[in-house]
Symmetry: C2
Subunit: 196 residues, 2 copies
């Protein structure tokens, strides 16, 4: 039986898919900083919250704690090189917006900047932090979401086939974008519902 053939890979963060998100914050000098993270996800519907995890030595760490705010800018597949650079360089060493040609835009609702060229933005206030070990989780309450008009579907919400967000795969360290449409959630599984 195929299911008995699974190989043990050890205690590793091998979950898939993981997002590639850009965290925007202002540092002590007021300089906008942007940092790539893949450890994160939505964590509550009401209040609407997202969580991202950072290491304490990151330049963004103190920045978010000081201003109690951050943004998540969702890069599109066409921004993969710029977004990757935001995970390679540190804001301690230079201006990553200038290096990549990206534009920091001041949020009108939270004290943090976002990446103007990226199609989908979540603007968050810091709700709480959770110390887990190497990483500290920052739970942000979503205050507003902003999106480019051209990624919205007919209902006015972001269509992932148009956003084309980037998927990071742990350990193999690859980026992919979204692919085939598989169906509507809470519908395609109805085929298994008991016949009444």
């Amino acid at each position: 039986m195929e299911k008995l053939m699974k190989r043990s890979l050890g205690a590793k963060t091998l979950a898939q898919p993981a997002p590639l998100w850009i965290i925007g914050s202002y540092d002590e000098a007021g300089k906008p900083n942007a940092m790539a993270v893949a450890w994160g996800g939505i964590c509550c519907s009401q209040p609407p919250c997202v969580a991202v995890s950072l290491r304490e030595e990151r330049h963004s760490y103190a920045a978010i704690l000081n201003r109690r705010a951050f943004t998540i800018s969702v890069p599109s597949a066409r921004h993969a090189e710029q977004a990757d650079y935001l995970g390679i360089a540190s804001g301690k060493d230079g201006d990553k917006f200038a290096a990549t040609g990206l534009t920091p835009v001041r949020s009108d609702v939270v004290d943090a900047p976002y990446v103007g060229e990226f199609p989908l933005i979540l603007e968050c206030t810091l709700l709480r932090t959770v110390s887990l070990g190497m990483h500290i989780q920052f739970v942000g309450q979503v205050v507003d979401v902003k999106a480019d008009e051209d990624v919205l579907d007919a209902s006015g919400y972001p269509d992932s086939a148009k956003v084309r967000p980037i998927i990071f795969t742990p350990v193999t360290r690859t980026y992919h974008t979204v692919g085939d449409y598989l169906g509507q959630a809470f519908q395609i599984g109805q085929v298994f519902a008991p016949k009444s």
Copy 2:
């Protein structure tokens, strides 16, 4: 300027991409249960941790608290209908494994079952819970990962082009799988590094 044309969509959990994961647990009667979640992500490298969020009324909620363990089974694109059903029906009302023809397999390292047919499994002990509002976040420490041999790459780790995990998009409620390969993380961004 295109970046000034963003539309405000309000305080909503519109982050992309979100995973479609199946949480496995044993209920009080010892019955294996499987439930679909999309609110979750990796949250710490050391110890390796993943977080998933559940509502208190879910059948899995008490089950995970009682046994202090759960699994994450990552469905492949070909399992989209089964996985979706695991988010439609409740284990309070019936045996979702039986309804979908999926096989509960007892983990050899934690007190929880996983879905035998799904290619990638994370086996977790409950490290802590974080009450956020409508959802409670369960932080699991990864004790082991198990994967089907045929989804591993040459280095022995899960290749997302072979796993083909399912991406859930909030509000539009669509499922997609992974698509085009975009490049290697921590490499493709080097094009923006200062010339030394």
